[in-house]
Symmetry: C3
Subunit: 479 residues, 3 copies
């Protein structure tokens, strides 16, 4: 497409994200074409399995693209638009009447479309608008109503129901993220459904059960004890119940257990010490340090269980959740104010790696929102420990330039074969193809540059491009 | 210009700073041309208003380009040249006879011109030499005398007096930085002068009045009490006097208050606690922690006052000032040895943001000399809080490659509309057009790459390029 | 070479590492050609002087390329291959029978060659294979045996003995790294040998003598006392013995003293305080803090001695050595699990710089494996202090993209003339030409971009390219 044609349209450039230099772009295009239509492996994300089980049509454009995507709402909030105007209900329901209706939310979004220029969210939205809804113009106040109707009309057809899109997207594996006490009935029903041939697997996410400072931790411990039949304060029963729930997940198809922590602290406590902290935490008398120590101990316990049961251990570290108390209290979590902070892996993870770093078949995937650790800590660790895998750029870093900085930071130390493969980590179902397509283009661009710089031969680049979307995630996540 | 022509000249390449790839360069050139001659908005800097009030001719080339520019002198110091040889007087005046004279300083500089290749200072000097003085050759020992004469001859003409240059540079707004007790008479006189049509506004800079560890703090508190008529140890009177001085600045045209801190610590103390610390600090018995706590409390108080009086709050954090005690004692501050250090914003700023982050019309512009916070902390904060604006790359980072790293780091998370616009932050009056021109070229280059990568359409890029030098700084600084 | 020709070969692209844009590549090629064959100055590294003294032929391909290069072995270890299979003996010798033989090691390596794509190690290996052994194909299981034979055949010829290669590589100066009590007889013998005309100089590396927490410190102190004739617990005697050993090194050609530290802590203690810590450390009763304090004091003492005796002081900071206790206990140090960590220079180095930062002829070269300090700390320090030199990218950062990030990070603040010049820091003798060639190409690429962006004129770029491999390292290391 020429620049003149591209003027003021939303049409997708077929060479988007490829390098500007023509000869490098040619190489990149060739690499991209060899991977563009390979199946999507999505071994970590937040899609609700009920979406696919029930195959309920999506509601409306605002619900689909705005209401639940705090990446989208936060930028309008930053522009001074209250969350109520974006259709987000308050926790207490009191602002019910003040909540904007879908068409109003959509209009506000279209009026503020300019905010998303150059952002990852804008890129994904543009991709979905263009590829799924045939929208070839920039959203604006003028066309807001028309775009709403146009999208709604398609959403009302069978081709836009979740299962049809799942198939159209070419998803082979999709992992959800689930509460340890979830009965996984949705997963079972999906697996048993002869009309659905995709593979949707659960992920064990125990944060709220192993972190004393997490909201509801004591209640969760009690629910766990209730399920297992042990007494609430019985530390060994607690550990055995967690192990049993993990086995339950394994039996229902899970391949990994995911852990979200502020800092990836690990501690190797003996059972009496751990049990004493558990007791103090349950009685509500543990200090912040003691709570952190117990959480650090439990993270190491989770590694031990992964060594035992084979679940891949993924760690997402470094985010201060619910940074704005005011917004959290009014609107709840996941409303756009989780903020990254400086994160360290080398010293905090050492107890875990001392114990299990060289364990056979143990996989530990490290994700960071602090870019500084890519070259300094994560790549060197993954360049030695067979257990350590480099998590793909995550959250704020899941964007074109950030992905290129990531590849540049880790590859020279750890090569291409110590990574997790691309992870979309999204609850925005419609963004999944856009995200994987973005990753494939960026990896093709990166490889093409190395080819042009005489650092990788073309045949190797072609093999690596395919491995990055196939063999590498299959290995890292034991798919 | 061909490479052959460019050989060994100082002539400015009309495409300087634009991307190498020809097609991308074409796009960038078009974007740049649309903004190249727009007025300069300079909402934060250190030009002395008396310069424009008195319109005194600049003295000589050494005074103009070297003597007061510690960016320039520090590199010669690092090459082993004593500051006396660069015309910098010692504090006690004892080295008077040893201070080099302007022609000698200029010659030393020309001999050492090679030190500046690839630096931001070198780029700005080259720009000023070429555009203002018609110098098309590299300074050297051979041409030092001739260049001195040539520059001096122009400085002696009316066209090179400050007001004529102000007009020639196309400056629309210029903010100075001023002591809270400054009577702002220079600003009043300039505003009242019918022969001067520019807008020169003061900036409230209270560091030395709110930071107990700052040199002269207690004296400043006493002067403030003296001005307000309250007693020196009266905490409430101190707070009210600061608020009154801010109002005085607002009445005299100020749009912002600027704060320089080592770490952006904020604390929300109640009045008795704050008053007690104030008392201890004044009596000289506060510990370092207590001094820091009081400074953190005062930074939060400044935010409260900004919410009240509307002054934009700018924070420049992370610089260890006067790192070399030996040099500081001999030559004073601003002599080239202020050194950045690792800086954190997320936890230290939280008390302030908890209280005022969502306050209407509160603007908080965060500047950093630690690049790691751009993608990790500042962009995520500015992508949620309507109050938080991303400060332009500052000090050591105000340079071509650093600016591109900055844009790459913040845009994908926060877009283009959460920034401050370019800030020159300079006391080097002649470098102002060079710096703004640099920023416009770099933003054009960045946008052109996104256009070429299919991430931003050309029409949006054109609008953004203009907004970056017009609407965006006007909004951030309430111009 | 066209891309088609490049397919699946290991042949070296003559334009490798040069920028993709054709016009920029042309400039870069010209710059590179002007420096490609200049002599190699290697002022810091780990080649054993006995290698050159004895001129013993290299054993076999596995010993030459794999066995001693923990950069190579760590990536296979990360792929799940035990170190025994890579020919690495256990410390206790018990696994003797399990150690793979050279041909098996070589085969394992060839089978896993794909792991090195895009890595620095892969780049250097490819360079050596192609330039020294005429290998123009990718190693693989199929050709492993043939490549082994082919390399072995050349190793058995005189042209591949160490001295012949030293000459062929064009090495002018090579520094080794030596124990303070080394008698330097190898160096003397080499210098006295009329058949060897190269300059091989020792480097004083006192870590194990000045760091109480280092393994064997007390024994080393005792050996030092034994050598000097002072009593073991005599602090002043200890200091004088170290100074005497440094003088011995100076007399035997040393130009620098090297210091490896976790954090570059410096402390300025008076003699009684230092002596008391020394005493406690020797008696084994010093706390960790006391041990660190003494080590910080000794680092400052080393600076004082450098001011006295003129040895350039190099500091390599920020690596956690022997991170995996299990691997360390089984295989010893330098087996691939030294991991970088966040490092700070500004506050820790301040006592040293306060005392000696402006001292005449004192040279302090700062190396980092934490990239964040390049723009934030090291470049600003080197842009002011005449003593501070910016160490070249080191260890994990000694790779093409990392080197470009480094140049981009430091140049705008400190220019080109405050660096150390390229440092190979290697024990892999055969990689020396590959590494220096890499650095010359990358600097040419960086300079070419600045030329194309109108930031440096071509004549200056040509001079800088030459200075970077000649005048700059000669000055930094007083060669």
């Amino acid at each position: 497409m020429t620049l003149t044609q591209q003027r003021a349209t939303l049409a997708l450039d077929p060479d988007r994200l490829l390098p500007a230099d023509p000869a490098t772009r040619d190489v990149a295009r060739g690499l991209y074409e060899s991977v563009a239509s390979l199946p999507i492996l999505s071994p970590h994300g937040h899609v609700d399995p009920a979406l696919l089980l029930n195959d309920t049509p999506f509601g409306d454009p605002a619900e689909l693209f705005i209401r639940y995507d705090h990446y989208v709402t936060r930028l309008m909030h930053a522009a001074g638009i209250d969350l109520e105007r974006l259709g987000i209900p308050t926790r207490d329901g009191r602002a019910g009447a003040g909540i904007a209706q879908p068409r109003a939310v959509w209009r506000t979004f279209c009026e503020n479309w300019y905010l998303y220029a150059g952002t990852a969210s804008g890129y994904w939205l543009q991709h979905a608008f263009a590829t799924l809804f045939g929208i070839g113009e920039q959203p604006s106040a003028e066309n807001a109503e028309r775009l709403f109707e146009s999208i709604q009309a398609r959403l009302d057809t069978d081709a836009y129901r979740p299962r049809a899109l799942f198939s159209q997207f070419g998803i082979e594996v999709l992992a959800t993220t689930d509460d340890p006490l979830d009965d996984l009935r949705s997963h079972d029903a999906l697996a048993a459904d002869p009309r659905f041939t995709g593979r949707v697997v659960p992920t064990f996410r125990p944060d709220a059960y192993i972190t004393p400072s997490a909201a509801g931790w004591a209640d969760n411990v009690a629910r766990l004890a209730d399920w297992s039949g042990s007494s609430v304060g019985d530390y060994r029963g607690y550990i055995e119940a967690l192990a049993a729930r993990r086995r339950y997940f394994v039996e229902h198809g899970a391949v990994s257990a995911d852990h979200g922590v502020l800092q990836p602290l690990t501690l190797d406590l003996d059972e009496p010490a751990a049990s004493a902290l558990f007791d103090r935490a349950l009685r509500g008398v543990a200090s912040a340090d003691e709570q952190n120590a117990f959480a650090g101990h439990m993270l190491l316990e989770m590694a031990r269980m992964s060594v035992d049961d084979g679940l891949v251990m993924t760690v997402h570290a470094g985010v201060v959740r619910n940074y704005s108390t005011q917004t959290f209290e009014r609107f709840g979590p996941d409303t756009g104010h989780d903020i990254p902070t400086a994160t360290h892996y080398v010293e905090p993870l050492r107890p875990l790696l001392e114990k299990y770093g060289n364990a056979r078949d143990f996989h530990l995937v490290l994700f960071s929102v602090d870019e500084t650790v890519y070259s300094r800590e994560i790549a060197p660790l993954a360049g030695f420990y067979p257990s350590v895998y480099i998590g793909a750029p995550w959250w704020f870093l899941d964007a074109p330039d950030a992905v290129q900085r990531f590849r540049s930071s880790v590859t020279e130390t750890a090569g291409f074969y110590r990574g997790s493969g691309f992870i979309d980590d999204t609850r925005a179902f419609l963004s999944i193809p856009a995200r994987h397509d973005m990753a494939r283009r960026l990896d093709s661009a990166f490889l093409a540059r190395l080819v042009r710089e005489g650092r990788v031969d073309l045949a190797s680049a072609e093999r690596i491009a395919i491995d990055l979307v196939d063999a590498i995630p299959r290995k890292a996540f034991k798919l």
